[in-house]
Subunit: 396 residues, 2 copies
């Protein structure tokens, strides 16, 4: 590894979630070789884990988004004479106190947009695991990044793969991007078979271990829809230039199709530490401890299938919203968050998720791409209200 004179200073937002915990593994390795230093972290409700993480890394700057969790953490810190953690009231304050080189944003959902903009506004590079930022307010995020010179480095395995496959490509040479989907736990099922699936079945992802929201998004293929929109924003391509295809083993993470008929593909066993490490060390490609090597002659043969868009309507809805633009993807995202929460709580069935999203998109006239955080919040709120209205008709 190329040694930097000083380690890159990193703040992790969403440190107790699936991506956050794996990021801390990567940061522990980076601390050992002097390339990375964790200087702050933020979590939602898991204050105990967050304080343990802070203690383990010798980090003093912590933010807890949940007010009750923050209060309990404050109590715990007061009672523990060894504790050195200091709580900050907001992510903005956390960033101002720690002055990091890079923020890993692994907050789940629309809530992550605030943090993405806070970092970009300060000219801080963002390793982005919160795809909702770009789905809800892609033009806004890209505009701020362009103005301040901050970079957005994707952490999603597919977009990390795309960025790697695009290295060296010039404008006009790329015909399309190909996002691969595992197909989720319900690949091959019909609509009728999905009517009564349980939350547990939907959470059982075949190839990736992830949090609850993203696991459901993977089961509905909305995750691929959000990724499609994220790819359009990140790589500045139209919706028609982003293909989606099922690769059941999740070994091929993405491909780039060039105008000479060549495709460049990114392969590897699914392991989120790889794209996380790639983003944290960018543009250096780091070694990753204990990563499983792909033995080409021992792995399953690589098959690709078309996506069943009738069964997995969420992807079709996302593509349509991407085509429509004018804030439609912000509506899509908000309605999906409401619908997924309702499904996880047992209020609606699996197929209702797409219906709720569709209903919200039908109910609202997209007003235009949000050009400020306030505009995004307002549109997000309106979409949630519309989605809740749709829920009411369906709750069981």
């Amino acid at each position: 590894m190329t040694r930097r004179t000083a380690p890159r200073r990193v703040v992790v937002l969403g440190s107790t979630g699936s991506v956050g915990v794996q990021a801390l593994e990567v940061l522990a390795q980076g601390a050992e070789d002097g390339s990375l230093e964790l200087v702050g972290l933020a979590a939602g409700t898991s204050w105990k884990v967050a304080l343990e993480q802070a203690a383990a890394f010798g980090v003093t700057a912590v933010h807890l988004a949940d007010l009750e969790a923050a209060a309990r953490a404050r109590d715990a810190i007061r009672r523990d004479t060894n504790a050195r953690a200091a709580q900050h009231a907001s992510i903005a304050e956390l960033l101002d106190r720690t002055e990091p080189d890079l923020v890993l944003n692994a907050v789940v959902g629309f809530a992550g947009l605030d943090a993405t903009l806070a970092a970009l506004e300060r000219g801080i590079d963002v390793a982005l695991a919160n795809k909702e930022s770009l789905v809800a307010a892609g033009a806004l995020c890209m505009g701020v990044a362009a103005r301040t010179g901050a970079r957005i480095i994707p952490v999603d395995s597919e977009h990390s793969a795309l960025q790697q496959c695009l290295a060296g490509a010039r404008a006009g040479e790329v015909e399309s991007l190909v996002l691969t989907a595992s197909g989720g736990p319900f690949r091959g099922r019909t609509r009728a078979q999905l009517a009564n699936v349980t939350v547990e079945e939907a959470l059982a992802h075949p190839t990736w271990s992830m949090g609850g929201k993203i696991s459901i998004d993977s089961a509905t293929l909305m995750n691929k829809g959000l990724e499609l929109i994220e790819a359009m924003v990140l790589f500045e391509l139209g919706e028609g230039a982003v293909e989606t295809v099922v690769q059941p083993d999740s070994i091929v993470h993405a491909l780039v199709r060039h105008r000479d008929g060549s495709l460049l593909a990114h392969l590897g066993w699914p392991d989120m530490r790889v794209p996380i490490a790639w983003a944290l060390h960018h543009p250096v490609r780091p070694a990753v401890a204990d990563v499983r090597r792909l033995d080409l002659t021992q792995m399953p043969s690589l098959a690709f299938e078309a996506v069943d868009l009738d069964t997995f309507r969420c992807l079709a809805l996302a593509r349509a919203a991407a085509r429509t633009g004018r804030g439609s993807t912000c509506i899509l995202n908000a309605a999906n968050e409401v619908a997924v929460a309702a499904f996880l709580a047992g209020h609606i069935g699996f197929l209702d998720i797409a219906d709720v999203v569709d209903g919200a998109l039908e109910a609202l006239d997209p007003p235009g791409e949000p050009d400020s955080l306030d505009a995004a919040r307002e549109l997000d709120a309106r979409a949630r209200i519309a989605a809740v209205d749709c829920l009411a008709a369906r709750s069981r």
Copy 2:
């Protein structure tokens, strides 16, 4: 396509062979859009085709390596009042008269080394389809290129694929290169089954349409051995960092394995025009007319198999020669040329090819990497004599 102010001036050596003819297709397209201009060509014996090509492209500078062919061409030009072609006595003279920006060297065998060095010495970039140049005198070629600033751009589909997969990689990030082989017409056969195969069977390559020498090299897998050595030279890696694996459909052309466990792969239907166009336009990736697009969901699923090194001994011999160095790969190449010619002439059996190569390598003590064209020629000649001695014992 990015328009250059003036078209890139190209000389094609070996214009009547399989690669040469396809290169002229690419050049015809490049002439249309003003990006490329054919300014000279050279062939061996096929003087009629060469003169037709020259006439079709309005090229006046021609070299014919075969003396009799050159004499016949001279007669034909004298009799044809419309002919404007001028013959040049050597490739060096051809290059001095035409002053090209790029030479495509598609000469077959050791004979191509002369031309590679002639171009590199003049600081002219070489699009290299003649892998034997780098196998026989890799250090010499790379040294001359480094001294004059000329670039060597691989035309072999595998090395073109590797160069594309390596775009953006930094020193130390790459763990290994993976060369794929179709396995040739005899994939899956045992040694016993190969004892009596015919020349026609050996020439019937399953996925690529190529010339005679390279088709036999593909059947013995010596071609993959030569490519292994070529890759070591081009990308400055040790023999242990170049893997070989069978991918029967020739859809995956090569992969690069990185230290984070990620692999980048290059995919496409086999079509030599693609790597040829890539080399001629380098570093711009051009559009290629009528290239067949890979439909991921309609193609065969991608399987990889280990190479059977006991049956395909030539690859094992090439790897051993690469490890030994000191001119061993020059000996390997010369002995292989002798053996393949003897097989094509019906003098020896298919399995004898490896025995002849092995015999020549056993008979000679490698004297060191050739540091001049003369040294390479001397070693090549000694290896041919040793190979002919081995042939004598085996001819039938």
